[in-house]
């Protein structure tokens, strides 16, 4: 800002102070608009973060799997006329070929922060007369916990997995009537089985997961699922969960394996999220427009009210540029002040909202994002909107003919 803007600031500020009621009303209007935008952004951002966090609790952003097995007709003679129907093959449980090499390759890929090999397959958990179908996951605890936050979800027992230990979910434990230290039997459809001790019980806050997932050491799973030395998947954690698909594409190209990202496996969620974002953006645009029109109309009136003063200022040597800036500054100040007020309103409302919107168990229904950056963006945005909306009135003021203005 050049040193001359000081004059414009003083005049702008005095003009606003003189029309105090007008100034306060428009600041209130801008404040309400900015408040709505900040509130919506915080709630929606919080909602999305919430779902993302809950999903990524028990799901790795990227899972590397062996390629699907495909049926290939023996005759590949394209000239011959074939009346055959190729049935898709059923997929059997199998290991990633040379998975140690693949693991090193993945670890060297940019964007990857952690990875862990797992063996997973179907099985049954039995205790007494109760039998439950479960998804057995064999894990390497030290690396697994870097990818999946299982350790933080343990509500009873621990995560030290001995060769014959198992970690089960709360719902499964309830259904089988087991507690930490109790024994249960894991069996597979092929008839293999092992009796294991419950070392820990987890709660991911998701009934399906709590009911189905059981965690055992990698080697135990390998022998149970008859995949000695093999792993069925490599779970990968990435720096930015929203860039998972990009990293997955790189991995797909490098390994020629099947690589699933959580973005692809949760497509519905992302479609819903995109729809929400579009709606939110539309609301923000229209609120922003309303605010801009409000500022512009107040300044248009102000230019008319002040035209004599503007004429005098021009007569005593104030340039068109200075007059222009006086009104641009007013727009900017209104935007800035309004955004500060809006931030306060939104903050207060968010605090109230968090207190009111609760789950039956008393935990907040939404985790709401109140990031300082949101307030900063709102302040900068509102100031810019203010300056832009002041453009037309300011030009009008700067083009006033001093003679006409003074005689008006």
């Amino acid at each position: 800002m050049n040193r001359l803007a000081f004059f414009e600031l003083i005049v702008a500020f005095r003009f606003m102070r003189e029309g105090l009621m007008q100034t306060l009303l428009i600041i209130l209007g801008v404040g309400l608009g900015a408040g709505v935008i900040i509130f919506l952004s915080a709630v929606l951002g919080g909602l999305q973060d919430n779902v993302v966090r809950r999903t990524l609790n028990f799901q790795a952003p990227i899972v590397v799997l062996p390629p699907d097995q495909v049926a290939r007709p023996l005759r590949a003679d394209t000239d011959a006329e074939l009346a055959s129907q190729v049935q898709p093959r059923s997929q059997q449980l199998r290991s990633i070929d040379q998975w140690q090499k693949v693991r090193e390759l993945i670890a060297r890929t940019p964007g990857v922060t952690a990875l862990t090999p797992i063996v997973s397959g179907p099985g049954f958990a039995q205790r007494g007369d109760a039998t439950k179908a479960v998804a057995i996951t064999g894990i390497e605890p030290e690396t697994y916990f870097e990818v999946i936050s299982l350790r933080e979800k343990i509500i009873s027992g621990g995560v030290n997995l001995g060769p014959s230990d198992v970690i089960v979910g709360t719902d499964l434990a309830e259904q089988l009537g087991v507690a930490t230290g109790d024994k249960l039997r894991l069996a597979t459809a092929r008839g293999a089985g092992a009796t294991l001790t419950v070392a820990g019980i987890f709660d991911f806050g998701n009934k399906a997961v709590n009911e189905r997932n059981v965690y055992i050491p990698l080697r135990t799973a390998q022998s149970l699922l008859e995949l000695i030395g093999g792993v069925t998947a490599i779970d990968v954690r990435v720096e930015d969960p929203f860039a998972a698909e990009r990293v997955a594409a790189i991995l797909r190209a490098r390994t020629e394996l099947k690589v699933d990202s959580w973005i692809r496996t949760n497509e519905q969620f992302f479609v819903a999220m995109a729809a929400q974002t579009v709606t939110n953006t539309l609301i923000r645009i229209f609120v922003g427009l309303t605010v801009a029109l409000g500022i512009a109309s107040v300044l248009v009136v102000s230019v008319i009210q002040k035209s004599r003063e503007i004429g005098i200022l021009r007569a005593m040597g104030t340039s068109r540029g200075q007059v222009l800036r006086v009104f641009l500054i007013q727009g900017g100040l209104v935007g800035l002040a309004g955004s500060v007020l809006g931030a306060l309103l939104a903050f207060a409302f968010l605090v109230v909202w968090r207190g009111v919107a609760k789950n039956p168990d008393g935990t907040p229904m939404f985790i709401i994002n109140m990031e300082p950056s949101l307030f900063a963006i709102a302040a900068i945005g509102a100031t810019l909107v203010g300056i832009l909306s002041a453009m037309a009135p300011a030009r009008r003021a700067s083009r006033l003919d001093p003679v006409v203005a003074i005689r008006s």
Partner: protein, 236 residues
């Protein structure tokens, strides 16, 4: 030294429309430095238009305007604004002070507009000008909280803030009672004598015109008489 020179200045309004009217018909005028001149004439004779052209607030349709030897008609808007701010001071019939500011700030305003930032020197200049017009005790009052005569005196101080070569006063006492008018006129006269500032005063009041050194009479857009006033009536 010439403070102002007009070379056959014409001014028309509504050019190209059915209501086109020429208000000034080739006005020639020279005002020397330090003069205290009255511009008189009936309503509608073009006094205010002439003052606006001289004040660079309006452009002549034809002819040339020189302020302190600088030809104004060749200047762009920004340069005109600068020349106006530096060389000309205005006193209008209505004081037109900025009600948002105090008397002192109003006087400082032209300097502030030119320099951008207030400083102690600016403040001192403005305070001295207020003292000269006898308003020191009102310097911190809002412009709309003082009497009409006082407001007009603030406007005079403001017109002098940039030490202009020429002060243009359009019916400066038109809105004041006789006593206030006399006191405002005295202030103008004192300043003229003390600082050699040139004044051109538009007035309807023959009593005031008689107190000027030179009387220029404008009728129907033409100067019909321009005479030195031998018998300048001095108050007191």
């Amino acid at each position: 030294m010439e403070t102002l020179r007009l070379d056959s200045v014409h001014k028309s309004y509504g050019i190209g429309t059915p209501v086109e009217a020429e208000v000034l018909h080739g006005v020639n005028l020279v005002i020397e430095r330090g003069e205290f001149a009255a511009l008189i004439g009936p309503s509608g004779s073009g006094k205010s238009t002439l003052l606006n052209v001289i004040g660079l607030l309006d452009q002549p349709t034809l002819g040339r305007v020189f302020i302190e030897g600088q030809e104004a008609s060749v200047l762009g808007d920004a340069e005109l604004t600068r020349l106006r701010g530096r060389a000309l001071g205005f006193v209008f019939q209505h004081h037109y002070l900025l009600p948002e500011f105090t008397a002192l700030e109003n006087v400082m305003m032209p300097i502030l507009a030119a320099r951008g930032r207030p400083d102690a020197e600016m403040r001192a200049t403005a305070a001295a000008l207020l003292e000269r017009v006898g308003l020191t005790q009102w310097r911190d009052s809002k412009a709309n909280r003082i009497s009409g005569g006082q407001q007009q005196r603030v406007a005079i101080a403001r017109a002098l803030a940039m030490q202009p070569a020429l002060v243009l006063a359009d019916e400066p006492t038109g809105n004041l009672d006789t006593k206030a008018a006399d006191s405002v006129f005295d202030v103008l006269r004192e300043i003229n004598e003390a600082s050699d500032t040139t004044f051109l005063i538009v007035t309807h009041d023959p009593r005031l015109a008689r107190r000027c050194d030179r009387i220029i009479e404008l009728v129907d857009g033409r100067i019909v008489s321009d005479r030195a006033n031998a018998e300048v009536v001095r108050q007191g």
